[in-house]
Structures are given as C-alpha cells and as structure tokens.
Homo-oligomer: 340 residues x 2
C-alpha cells in the first residue's frame, strides 16, 4: 500500500477501461495524427471563444471515452479534471453538463498524472467503481493567458514549446470488477513535490521542469526498489528537447542511462522538422493526448509491458513571472502495466 | 464505504489531530479575532508583493498546524492545498519549502472542503498516516485578480462580499493510529457537482453558489438517509446574507427548515454593523479560517456533536465573466463529528 517515502502500490491495481483523445488541426498533422480519435479542423470547435472551444473539447473527449467503453455517464462516480486556465474555466464549463461530482485539479501540465493518481487511489479504495480522469489545453487560450496576443506575432526562442490543442480522458475502473475490460493496469503512483531550481525563463520551461522529473523518477526508483531496467519506457510530459537533455544528463550523473527508454510527449506529438514547434509540445493536453493516443494502445498491445508516465508542470503565472519569481516544477509519476 | 449516489462513509473515520489559522488585521478585529491563532497586522506579511504575502500566510498556517500538534514535517505524507489565484501561485510558492508531495486543488472558495475530502479519503485508505489540508485567500490578491485595482476605489453593492485575508490548515490523520489525539472525526463526505442556475452577477456570488449548496445538502441527506435533525449545525462557506437567504428558502420549499441550525462562515467572520463588509466574507480563506478557529474547537469541546461543513465555490474568472458566461457554483460537504 504505502511504498517507501512517497509512493503507493496498489494490491489490486485499478485499470484503465476506456480512453479518448480530441485534438486540433496542427496535432492532427503531426506524428500522432492517425492515432488521435478526433482531429477537429475548426480551432473554435464551433463555439464563440477560445475558452469555450477548450471546454467543448473536454466535453467531447469525456463523452467519447464513455462511448468507446460503452459506459453510461451515471456509472462514473467522480471526475478528476483540470486545465491551465486561471480558475480552471475550461474544466468548469466543459464538465458542468456531465452532472458528476468534480474534484478540480491544478498541476500545470502535470494535471493528467494528478488526475490518474487521485482517480486510481479513489477506485482502489472502493470509493467508486469508475471515475474519469481528464486534462486539456488549447494553444490559443494558453497564449492569451500566459504570453502575447496572437495577432502580435512575437518571435519565439528555440527553447520555447508550443501549447497543444487537445484533451485526453481516461476511465479508471476497479481492477476487481472490471478486469475483463482492462486496457492497462495502474500498479503504482509516485506523487511529486514541488522542486525549485531557480529557473526564471518562461520561454524555457523544459529547464524549469527537468529537476522535478528527475526527483520523481529517483523517488520512484527508491520507493519501489527498482532502476531504469524495470521499465520499458520512461515517458515525461513536456520537457521538450532542452528539458529532456537536462533530465538525461542529471540521470546519467546519478548513474542511470535513460537514453534508450526515455520518451517525451512533447517531442512525440509534433514533427520538429516540418511543424516549426521549436522545443516541442506542452500544455496539459500534451501528455493527456499522447497517453490517450500513443501510450495506452502500446500498453494494451503488450508492446510495452511497463511504463513510468511522468507529466511535468511548470508552476508559474503571468503575475508570479512579472513579479520576478522563479518557475518551480512538479512531476507526478504513474506506473502503467500491460494486462497480458 | 460508497454511500448512496455520491457520498462516502468512513468505517474508521479519519481524525483531525491539529489545526491552525492565520489571518489579517480586519479579520482579527472581527468576531473570530480572539479565536484565530495568528492575526498579522502587516497585510504584506513582511514580503514585497500581495501574492508573496498570501504564500507566507499559507506557510505560517502549515507550520503552526504542525507545531501545535507536535508533528514533524516528515510525518505528513501528502499535501492537499489550493487558493483562488490563477495557476495557484499562492500555494506553489507557499508550500515549496515543505518538500511534501502536493496535490494542487482548485474549487474556488470550496477548496478547503475539497482538500478535506481528498485528505480523508487518502488517510482512510491507508495511503498515508497523516496529510495536511489547507486553503488561503488574501483580500488584495483577490481584488487584483478578479475586480478593480484597490487604488481605483470602486463602490460595492450590498450583495458583494469581502475576500478574507486568511489561511487555515488542518492535519488529517489515521483514525486507527491517532485516535488519542483526535479533535474531530471526519465520518463522511459528499463531493459536489457543478450546479449552474445561470447567475451572471459577479457582485452577488452568494446567489450563484446557493443552488450548489442546496444540491449538496439534499444529496447528503439522501445518501446518508438523514435530514436536518441529524446535524447540530449545517455550515456553508461564503454564501453571505443574500446567498444564505436563498438557500434557506430553497430548503424550506423542499420541506427542511434550517433556520435554527444554519450558519455561514462568511457571516461569522466579520461584524456586519461595524466592519462594512456588506454581504459578508468570502474566499477560500473564509471557510478555512472559520473551520480552524470557530468550528473545530466547538466540535472538540462537544458543544456541537455533528456538523455538516459545506464550503461553496463560484466558478468564474475575469475571462469567463467578460465573455458573458454564467457563474456556476460548486459545494463539497464534509461531516465532522465530536470524539466525545
């Protein structure tokens, strides 16, 4: 149950029984395009504002996850969801019609992992047979929230990432009751603490988050008494090129070579050569969409037997940034295993 | 365990073993002034910005909750915390030094209940022996975030509330292991769904939140098979005068007279006559401070045997408001019982 200093091991692992991903046009043109359930060509998703578009995308992902799993809305006991926007408005307006009790979460781009951690903990404890874990981001809402008006056309350094327009939703179900529908087992979690290495460059968030990823991986290894050979893949959320390099260096210096097994959702979701996304993708939707299009299917097929999924978040706001604060990072770890 | 449609009943109830409250000068001058642990005269809490002040206040509340309970930081396995600010910066910078894995939460002013729900669920399931639940708000950060620059000196309608400068922190511990230190038992929770009655007036958030409180109370009664006579007090978070009146009317129309047992933290924390706070207090800190200064001591003493604690949140941001969206509400319920 409690494992080591910070982790939890589930005796009867909760299972992911359904999942869905919805994303925008640019993501559809990327390497995961064919794996994403719905690629919407209209970035407004038929609504009047960017924020409503993001809400519509969440709703679509949630509805589709239920539909694909042949699950009625009433079977979902709790919803664990979040997004990047101030006061989580994408989530509030995206989930209001579902009429399911909501735990609103904010972990910046680590939110999908936070939702999976709490969802698995809830289901494993018997508080519900099924819950839904979800996260989203939208390029235009994030730019408006954090950076410059789109029409301003500012230049972006190569260390900057591109916020993914996308939402991922996963139904987490009791491992006792729904083993026959299992796509992947959640065998353990390592919730992460905030790690602040003093990074201050909001155009290089990978560097700000890499130390948090490093810490959570080390804690996971220590708590479960394993090392990098235990996993087929160790997949971070949105460190991008720069952050991934820092993470691999830090791991190597501490004796672990992740070169062959590390992947980063931010580097999977776009084609760096042709899509001009610089260091890669970011946003809550980056890890959520990659999980629900690339990672879960490969675990279901048995291609990957055991994955450490590690969405990373940069804990800044325009207010904290403008007031000269650092950019602390956070990273939650979720151990996903095949059912085969 | 699962109780009714949305609630959870804890067989071996987790217990609150320590708590602390920190608040500002105005709150110190109010009816709860003598009950609040630390009343800070400097609204900047010795820092350079309002946001840092709120972070400092969170840190102080957390440290004090541990100190009062003679608990080492290392004994706290997880932290459940949140605030009102975009991207939860008060929490991120307030908790970074604690080095405890963090679940960042956003439930607007319902956040203290969300933290208590998840904290109790975590401890009861054995995922940790002790966790910390915390929430804060600061008048100046909230005005800056949601309304007008303070220097602008805008007028406020009587339906408007006053954001509490305050933080409350409670240590939730295993009922099996720490029964001897118990101040109150958390015997059940009723997590709430988003309820949208179409309210659009951000200067009357009580009206926006009252339907959510109504729904959660009704759900709690239904799930546990009880009515208003089951509780010594039913205490909402920050409905204020206007919202409380609406709630009592809605309850009466559905057959429950709460007149004698309903209290609202927003109406307890300020003196309406002398403090010019109009409809009452609001903000995550309102329910958190009232819990950790007034409510928990009265449960400890046995004056109140069973309390339904119902912090309420208004799910808006300046963006959603300016785009003409409604203000949905949310309310989570926590059943607190005496140990006597």
């Amino acid at each position: 149950m409690q494992k080591g200093k910070s982790s939890i091991e589930f005796e009867t692992p909760p299972v992911v029984t359904s999942f869905a991903s919805v994303a925008g046009k640019k993501e559809g043109q990327g390497p995961l395009g064919k794996l994403i359930d719905v690629v919407e060509q209209d970035e407004m998703f038929g609504t009047d504002t960017w924020e409503q578009a993001e809400s519509a995308m969440q709703k679509q992902a949630a509805d589709l996850a239920l539909e694909k799993g042949d699950i009625r809305r009433q079977e979902i006991r709790y919803l664990f969801a979040g997004d990047l926007l101030g006061q989580l408005i994408a989530t509030s307006f995206g989930t209001v019609d579902m009429e399911i009790p909501l735990f609103g979460l904010y972990g910046a781009c680590s939110t999908m992992a936070e939702a999976l951690c709490l969802g698995a903990m809830t289901v494993h404890a018997g508080y519900g047979d099924r819950v839904l874990a979800m996260a989203s981001s939208h390029f235009a809402t994030a730019e408006k929230q954090f950076r410059f008006p789109l029409a301003y056309g500012n230049q972006r350094p190569f260390s900057a990432t591109w916020t993914v327009t996308g939402a991922g939703a996963a139904v987490v179900s009791s491992g006792e009751k729904y083993a026959q529908n299992a796509i992947a087992r959640i065998t353990g979690v390592t919730p992460g603490k905030i790690v602040d290495f003093g990074a201050r460059d909001s155009m290089n968030m990978g560097a700000a988050m890499a130390p948090a990823a490093y810490h959570t991986i080390r804690q996971n290894f220590e708590d479960f008494g394993v090392d990098e050979t235990w996993y087929d893949r160790i997949i971070t959320g949105d460190l991008g090129e720069v952050g991934s390099r820092i993470l691999l260096d830090m791991m190597k210096q501490s004796g672990s070579d992740l070169t062959d097994i590390h992947m980063d959702c931010g580097m999977e979701i776009y084609d760096r050569e042709s899509q001009d996304t610089h260091a890669g993708g970011s946003g809550c939707g980056c890890a959520a969409v990659t999980l629900c299009s690339l990672i879960l299917p490969r675990i279901r097929s048995g291609e990957w037997k055991r994955v450490l999924f590690l969405p990373t978040g940069a804990l800044l706001s325009t207010v904290s940034f403008n007031e000269g604060q650092t950019i602390p990072g956070i990273c939650h770890g979720v151990v996903l295993e095949t059912c085969g």
